[in-house]
């Protein structure tokens, strides 16, 4: 039972998070518009998100997904470690599998680190009111745009945000392919298609999220 349940939980929460990333990235594209358009649009968008009760539910589902994804990943890794108590002295795993597939835990840890920093940068400031007070824009919406923009003018944050999108890409690529199989999708041609989509998806997410801080920085 546990062998199937834990992996399925990781797969389901993972797929949900993948969907969320699509929405997130589309919204972030607003940041690429000229500042005068982008500020208003971005701030009103984020206000809508904060105040819509349906989105609130989705937000809680999101937090729960991240939590469950991490918890079950830890449980799975723990069991897997126990199942292989002695490691090989020489192991050329790169000849039979991708590096990412062998290191999903490590990639996940980077992403978790990212999420923590990311939440501290935005969620903690805007929702919890920690740190410097966030102002409002001309329309009276909380000026999330200013928070983002100032963050992405700090070179250290830009490097941090952009660089960590690389592990994200690898994690998504393997995770997406694996999730379908975990959930019992075994149609061979279908899986080949999934593999292609996973690659395209991972590249878009990784490049998309990674390039925005750079563009904002150099804009």
């Amino acid at each position: 039972m546990e062998l199937f349940f834990r992996k399925s939980m990781i797969a389901v929460t993972g797929l949900f998070l993948c969907l969320f990333l699509i929405v997130h990235l589309s919204a972030n594209c607003i940041l690429l518009l000229p500042e005068e358009v982008a500020r208003g649009l971005y701030n009103s968008y984020s206000t809508t998100l904060r105040e819509n009760p349906l989105i609130k539910i989705v937000a809680y589902a999101l937090y729960l997904s991240i939590l469950l994804h991490v918890v079950y990943a830890l449980l799975v890794s723990l069991r897997n470690k126990k199942a292989k108590p002695t490691k090989y002295a020489v192991n050329r795993s790169s000849e039979n599998s991708t590096w990412a597939s062998q290191n999903m835990g490590l990639l996940g840890a980077f992403i978790l680190l990212f999420i923590v920093v990311h939440l501290a940068n935005f969620w903690a400031r805007i929702k919890l009111g920690m740190g410097d007070v966030v102002g409002t824009d001309a329309l009276g919406n909380v000026d999330v745009y200013a928070v983002t923009s100032s963050l992405f003018h700090n070179i250290y944050y830009v490097i941090f945000y952009s660089f960590l999108m690389i592990p994200l890409g690898f994690h998504l690529h393997h995770g997406l392919k694996s999730a379908f199989k975990t959930l019992g999708f075994y149609h061979k041609a279908g899986l080949r298609l999934v593999a292609k989509i996973a690659l395209i998806y991972a590249v878009i997410m990784s490049v998309g999220f990674g390039i925005i801080p750079l563009i904002v920085y150099f804009k």
Binding site: K82, A83, K181
Partner: protein, 247 residues
Amino acid sequence: MKVAFRIWRQDNPNEKGGFKEYQVDNLNADMSFLEALDHLNELLVLRNEKVVAFEYDCREGICGQCGVFINGRAHGPHDNVTTCQLHMRSFQDGETIVIEPWRAKSFPVIKDLIVDRSAFDRIIEQGGYISAKTGTAPEANAIPIGKEISDRAMDAAACIGCGACVATCKNSSAALFTSAKINHLNLLPQGQPEAYRRVIEMTAQMAKEGFGHCTFTGACEVECPEGISITNIAEMNARYFKAKIFS
């Protein structure tokens, strides 16, 4: 041809074990890898040392008894081949070849390069069969089975139970082995009456034996001498969920 074998030596399950290096010359490239080890063992006997314990039987790639980790790969440097079908021509003259036993909690080392794979037998005992007694069979052509189904069952049935999938898997997952057997039988009409029970009980035994989770690294299907596809695991998962819902 001359090589150095760096071999894991462990006298019994409780001993700690470690590597020992042996220089062996007078080999030739056409020798099989196991024959080179035979040759080493003859040298050891003449030197009044204990021979290296390793397993084999058919030496033609079909019985599944041989299998060691060679230079970081299960069954050696090639894909989809057993240890017994590996030849010395795959190595460089003067090379150091590192040989380790299969590593997995569920495959404890018995001696040197020999491990205990009886966990596989216990998984099969939990449903890797069709419960029909000798003498009860209907006429063979009474139940037609389409070629596609029959071929897929055959693909899965090809498993030789060597354990390379578990050995190479970073999680020591036995999912490829277990799924191959489940799919072989559950695809066939003869396997239907026990289909749900089979997948639930065999996977429960797989968990009980301490194997890890499958995370689809795909290493298993590359090392599997029969090239059993990893989609078998996905298919097993589907069968499991179906069994959980409908049984």
